[in-house]
Symmetry: C2
Subunit: 252 residues, 2 copies
């Protein structure tokens, strides 16, 4: 029996957001590899070996996955959300490229999942209904100067902006700097969504203006979406609906 490797997205948290494709891959797997809280979401069964590891060891995890698949095991690497968006798929391909060339012809598939920004967007309305960008604010991964440059250009392009990892434990001051750049570029009135623990029992959504936004409104489980100049609020009982119309006007 020949081995394979699937890099699968578990979605943001709710089992009702896991695709049947991912469920089927988990049912056929011999080994599941991932960050501890994601592996904890995989149903246990006899014969399934779970390899849970701490954060920041993505390349070790990727190397183990490739080793096991090369040995003929059926391996699923699990990510939260979608594995292709700031998650394990890129890490596995980094390891594949750096490793022995004979590994390249392994049966490797990426199984998409509901990524956190799209789950957060759905809960709030449709803030990403027009052109948008997604930026990882973790400066473990890139220098601050590059983050700031991207924020300013995204504001000039009038994208709605979705932010992953807004406030890392290691460098929480980065998000305060990002908010300051955005206020300067987009003004204080622009709506911003803080969506914490979307699709879990602890879900908490909050929409404020950029002027009211504070770094403490985000933690490591929060997704942040800033509207474009066209993004609107529909007042209703309870939290308003946040959405961006499909049409854009020039000079917007």
């Amino acid at each position: 029996m020949s081995g394979w490797l699937a890099i699968a997205g578990l979605g943001p948290g709710d089992a009702a957001l896991v695709t049947p494709e991912v469920t089927a891959a988990l049912a056929q797997a011999t080994d599941v590899i991932g960050y501890i809280p994601y592996v904890a979401r995989v149903p246990r069964r006899a014969g399934l070996v779970l390899h849970a590891s701490d954060n920041r060891v993505e390349l070790d995890r990727a190397a183990l996955a490739l080793d096991l698949a090369a040995q003929g095991r059926r391996v699923v690497v699990v990510s939260s959300g979608d594995p292709g968006v700031f998650a394990m798929a890129a890490a596995v391909f980094e390891a594949l490229e750096a490793g022995p060339p004979d590994r390249r012809d392994l049966d490797i598939r990426v199984l998409p999942g509901i990524t956190a920004i799209l789950a957060a967007s759905a809960r709030a309305g449709a803030p990403l209904g027009h052109d948008f960008c997604a930026i990882n604010l973790s400066d473990n991964l890139k220098p601050w100067a590059l983050i700031e440059k991207r924020l300013r250009l995204a504001a000039e392009a009038d994208f709605a902006m979705a932010f992953y990892n807004p406030r890392s434990k290691a460098r929480p001051e980065g998000f305060a700097r990002a908010l300051a750049v955005l206020r300067e570029s987009c003004g204080a009135d622009r709506p911003i969504l803080f969506a914490r623990a979307v699709a879990t029992p602890e879900e908490d959504l909050r929409i404020v203006s950029l002027g009211q936004a504070r770094p403490e409104m985000a933690d490591m489980r929060t997704m942040v979406i800033l509207g474009s100049s066209q993004t609107r609020l529909i007042p209703r009982t309870g939290r308003p609906i946040l959405y961006t119309p499909r049409f854009a006007v020039e000079g917007a």
Copy 2:
């Protein structure tokens, strides 16, 4: 029994990519509304009324959905991919905002789906593994000058770029202009993915350089993803893997 409205994403095509949340909403619905080929993907059953309509009547569809939910029906508006990304959710909220204020307190939910760019990205590797943007190239929705401005700024920000509706039947010359702008901004060597009919039996993926890219490589069922300056190809038997590493360097 009080009515509700769910705006649901059917994913790119394969039933294995429809979330259980969407399947459950369809099982409880009295009415399904949408563009003809998307409604055709919904399982028929006794008592379920299907309202299929042609393209470009999004606002009529949205108004019908709100009317039926206000009458106490259980309504699902279906979109391909994710309803919040260039799809029906924004159209429903446009209709809601323009319509009678008492409709605003209806039970309206957006149910996320696997959007086409993430399905295409998964099939190719992980080209959206770092910061990226999504741009709708249809100039039905915005003036060409705004599209061109966004392309140039996105290139300067060094985003990977995902393009929806690259080549509309009405104005196919737009995509040729977009490719010319991108070649000027990103150079001829940048890899670009043409992913046609992803997650359907007609799926066809092609990776070329921007210099080799031709407008005819895209049609209305094609998603296009252009790499950032960091996007790489891993040669292997068959189609190479296209991915963007998680780390970025300054000046990239």
